[in-house]
Symmetry: C2
Amino acid sequence: MIDVCLLGTGGMMPLPYRSLTSMMLRYNGSSILLDCGEATQIAVRRRGWSFNPIDLILITHFHADHISGLPGMLLAMGNADRTEPVTLVGPPGLERIVRSLLVIAPRLPFKLEFIELEDIADVQTLNLLGLEIHAFRLQHSMLCYGYSFTLHRAGKFNPAAAKALGLPVNYWGKLQRGDTVSYEGKEYTPDLVMGGARKGLKIAYATDTRPIAQISKEASGADLFICEGMYGDGSAESDHKAREKKHMTMQEAASLAANAEIAPEKMWFTHYSPSFINPQDYEESAKSIFPAAEVVKDRASLVLDFEED
Amino acid sequence: MIDVCLLGTGGMMPLPYRSLTSMMLRYNGSSILLDCGEATQIAVRRRGWSFNPIDLILITHFHADHISGLPGMLLAMGNADRTEPVTLVGPPGLERIVRSLLVIAPRLPFKLEFIELEDIADVQTLNLLGLEIHAFRLQHSMLCYGYSFTLHRAGKFNPAAAKALGLPVNYWGKLQRGDTVSYEGKEYTPDLVMGGARKGLKIAYATDTRPIAQISKEASGADLFICEGMYGDGSAESDHKAREKKHMTMQEAASLAANAEIAPEKMWFTHYSPSFINPQDYEESAKSIFPAAEVVKDRASLVLDFEED
């Protein structure tokens, strides 16, 4: 089960009624924060989630609206009695940037561990906290990454097959965890007792960027695809701004979802321009391209769970 | 006329219902910002004041809750089309700290000019934007300054006296501005036509600190004295925390006001601890020490104007 909260939906600057774009996932006792602009800590408080279990913070890029809240967030985690190390993932230069920001928070009660992405590969895979995380390169005015999170699910265990093999019950768990078992001089592999892999859970997240094919690939098969829709009123001016500032319109984002090999189950827009007062006015236009597209507000939340067998 | 807004009243961390302590003054077309914690830019937007005219930013000290919002504030000022230089005043090391924070805002459309206070003097006087500003050393866990702002007011011009001297009207303005005038071989000094200096306007601001005598001196004669009251429930635990963390209780702050030679007209508390949920419950206790003391909330505002003649 994964809890998802899109903590904020704004781009560029925090507004009284719209927090900066940031997402939190909760899985298996850990919280994962994706981006941390100014006042993201307030958005976490509004949602009522805790600062202590944030084990992993991923940063898309180093524009202030995606990272300026980091010193305050780390201090809030310290005030919440966190002492375990925290892993930070982001573009090359991450450690230098974070250390520079921490000039005003020089003493934290936990260690920071940095994973800097490479700026050459299109997609880099990280296996952290039981999730397969893809960091994929976007096309913005500075090096920027999208992220997708996949929770894989093993096939269903077949106790009848295990019994038929004559394996005692105390060997079953090992096979279920994917290990090979030796019993009375014979080797038993998991595939003898496990069905094919079942559908897991997947969340894909892409902002700030021009539309590129890799986003559709990452959105394919997602339970939830969160994507920037910074503009969307269909005016020539907005379309021009999107191209010029390396952002996307809702319609461009919806087309990315429509082009995914397996259509994402849900799609939420985010990173609305401060000048975009009523993005919901343009939801219909986006839905005409990808029907599952939704214009959501701060703290849009979802609980993702495995399908019933 | 000076507009005052206490943008926030919180200490340590921004809360959904309480912004971090920060004050804005507006005088003669300029805005002056005093401290800039995380999300102070949201508080400015809530108040409805503009980012563009912020000519001066004063920082009390380098704890994150007093400066972490600076990169976002400067970016917001840039987005508000500011191009004129901005002066920053603060403790020694200011420029290094600010430059370090600006790693995520490397290109601003205006220049920054730094005035670093000395760490030796008790009181340093700056004359900026037509105001006499005192930076006075406080007693905190790091070097920290309070500030007072005085707008002096000249005496009243006496047109009858000017007439009696036989001075033509076109010389009057110069005398009113404090300049000496030569007319038909004679010198005329302003005191010949101006009454004694009248009461000006004064605002004193002190947080984060233990109570010290200098605060009473700066509060003396103030129209508004804003002072930290981080704790105040009267418990031994709060009193201990105040001493240990180098902060003040409301009662200690009220005593500072009561000890001022000329009692300040109004007194507002600020910098409430996040654990201090209902500071208004203790207003009566503070008023019993200094009757003008008030427990105010975010965006408490006041317009200060010269007395009627």
